[in-house]
């Protein structure tokens, strides 16, 4: 990790830096200020970066794949070297026309009906995690580290077909990749790539009912995917599916810890839950994507040059008063909610049905078993920095469980 030192931000309209802790903790206020004063902010950092914060600008850019390329979706000081239209991790880094090919064969595995089958196992798993938390009997637990974090890892491991007994090994890989990328030297035979290659080879000879088998049987123009492609897709699903969902679950619990009325409404009125889930996704949308300008273009009078970065802060769009009534309020039963938490246009999150299921089950089981809890110490909550925003440390005090509640 050799990121250059970057000075503190002097002015969010002309020098913003979305990787700063100050942005992580007060992003919604910054978006509000900018929306009023400078709806397309600019910074010279990262070789030139734009930050549009209005719903309609974010939508226009997300849909305009001619002027804005997905070749790079995470802002860095350098520019990606894997050429368009495929990019490093198809389909998220791909542009038309290749994008559609790379996306198509994944859709069936993530369709709502395919995903619905995972509900029961997810419920069992959340309850196991809660059993462990409560067995600890300390009263204070970390809802991000001990609960939210584990859910997407276990779900995707089960979907891919990682054997249960390899669970610890697999979580070790994920931890290394997400928490400490490039931080430790690892022998080639101990990498996740090597592990996945072995698993892929095994599924080719002994197919099972899992996602790796499904991928080994998928074809592009009649040809099976190469092992490298299958492995790359597995890696993308891990990277795109884990800290995003972890963030959404953590932020939702952060919310419920502080809002007893919303906890009560959730518990007493199951019909409100689908609306509450979409409102949690709107209000705490964890994902900001980026694009690279592919052809010179103007947005709201701002001249964007080739290879400038453009951030797509879906969370900022979700709080735009032009697009939502009472945009800055959390309205648990909001009926009209065209939020962009999963993006829009051709890159709509493939995992959206899965993420929604995980978030619903995680919140449902937590609130059923732990109907009363609060932040142990608001000062100790730590939010992630960068493009995926959510609590990474979330100590909460358990006040009542379903066993102790009347």
């Amino acid at each position: 990790m050799t990121e250059p030192e970057r000075p503190p931000v002097a002015d969010w309209a002309t020098d913003f830096d979305h990787t700063k802790a100050a942005y992580a903790t007060r992003a919604p206020e910054i978006w509000d200020e900018l929306r009023g004063s400078c709806p397309v902010a600019h910074s010279d950092r990262f070789g030139g970066t734009w930050l549009p914060v209005r719903h309609d600008d974010v939508s226009t850019i997300a849909k305009d794949t001619d002027h804005f390329s997905s070749q790079g979706v995470v802002v860095t000081d350098w520019r990606p070297d894997i050429p368009k239209p495929i990019g490093y991790a198809p389909p998220i880094t791909s542009d038309p026309p290749f994008h559609k090919i790379a996306r198509q064969f994944l859709l069936t595995a993530f369709s709502p009906k395919a995903i619905a089958e995972l509900e029961q196992p997810a419920r069992v798993m959340c309850n196991e995690l809660i059993d462990d938390l409560l067995a600890q009997q300390t009263g204070t637990v970390d809802a991000a580290v001990q609960y939210a974090q584990h859910i997407p890892v276990r779900v995707i491991a089960a979907m891919l077909g990682v054997p249960e007994e390899d669970g610890d090994l697999f979580r070790g890989f994920i931890h290394r990749i997400l928490e400490n990328p490039g931080g430790v030297e690892v022998a080639p035979e101990d990498t996740m790539d090597a592990y996945l290659d072995a698993l892929i080879a095994q599924r080719q000879t002994e197919p099972r009912d899992d996602l790796i088998t499904y991928l080994t049987r998928s074809t592009i123009d009649g040809d099976p995917l190469t092992a490298a492609h299958v492995r790359g897709t597995c890696a993308l699903l891990l990277l795109a599916g884990i800290d995003t969902t972890w963030s959404a679950i953590g932020a939702s619990l952060w919310h419920f810890a502080q809002h007893p009325d919303d906890r009560r409404r959730w518990t007493d009125d199951p019909a409100v839950r689908p609306f509450a889930i979409e409102e949690l996704l709107r209000f705490y949308a964890p994902v900001t994507m980026a694009r690279l300008v592919a052809e010179p273009v103007e947005v709201r009078g701002c001249p964007m040059e080739v290879d400038d970065w453009v951030l797509l802060p879906f969370p900022a769009a979700n709080r735009d008063g032009e697009a939502f009534e009472r945009a800055d309020e959390f309205v648990i039963d909001r009926q009209r909610n065209r939020h962009l938490a999963f993006g829009l246009g051709i890159h709509r999150c493939i995992g959206s049905n899965l993420a929604r299921l995980e978030l619903t089950v995680a919140v449902e089981e937590w609130l059923r078993r732990i109907p009363h809890f609060e932040l142990a110490d608001p000062e100790q909550v730590r939010w992630s920095t960068g493009q995926i925003r959510g609590p990474r440390e979330l100590p909460v005090r358990i006040v009542a469980t379903s066993d102790t509640a009347a």
């Binding site: 069936t108 369709s111 909610n337 065209r338 939020h339 999963f342 829009l344 049905n353």
Partner: protein, 69 residues
């Protein structure tokens, strides 16, 4: 009331399928499929409006009857 659904705009967010499963199904890839032809039964009109108002891609439109009072 009639519902118009534009398959070209649909990106498979499935908000419609969650809110109004009586009116929208999904295909194998998760794109929406409109289940009603012609008029929406009156008891489903509110659900049709909900689906239209929550589709992030503006793929669903409601056509109110002129005579609808």
């Amino acid at each position: 009331m009639k519902v118009r659904f534009d398959r070209e705009l649909c990106q498979g967010h499935n908000r419609c399928y969650i809110l109004a499963p009586e009116l929208f199904d999904t295909d194998d890839e998760g794109y929406a499929v409109l289940r009603v032809e012609g008029n929406v039964p009156p008891d489903l009109e509110e659900k049709a409006r909900l689906a239209a108002d929550n589709c992030p891609e503006f793929a669903i439109e409601i056509e109110d009857d002129a005579t609808d009072g």
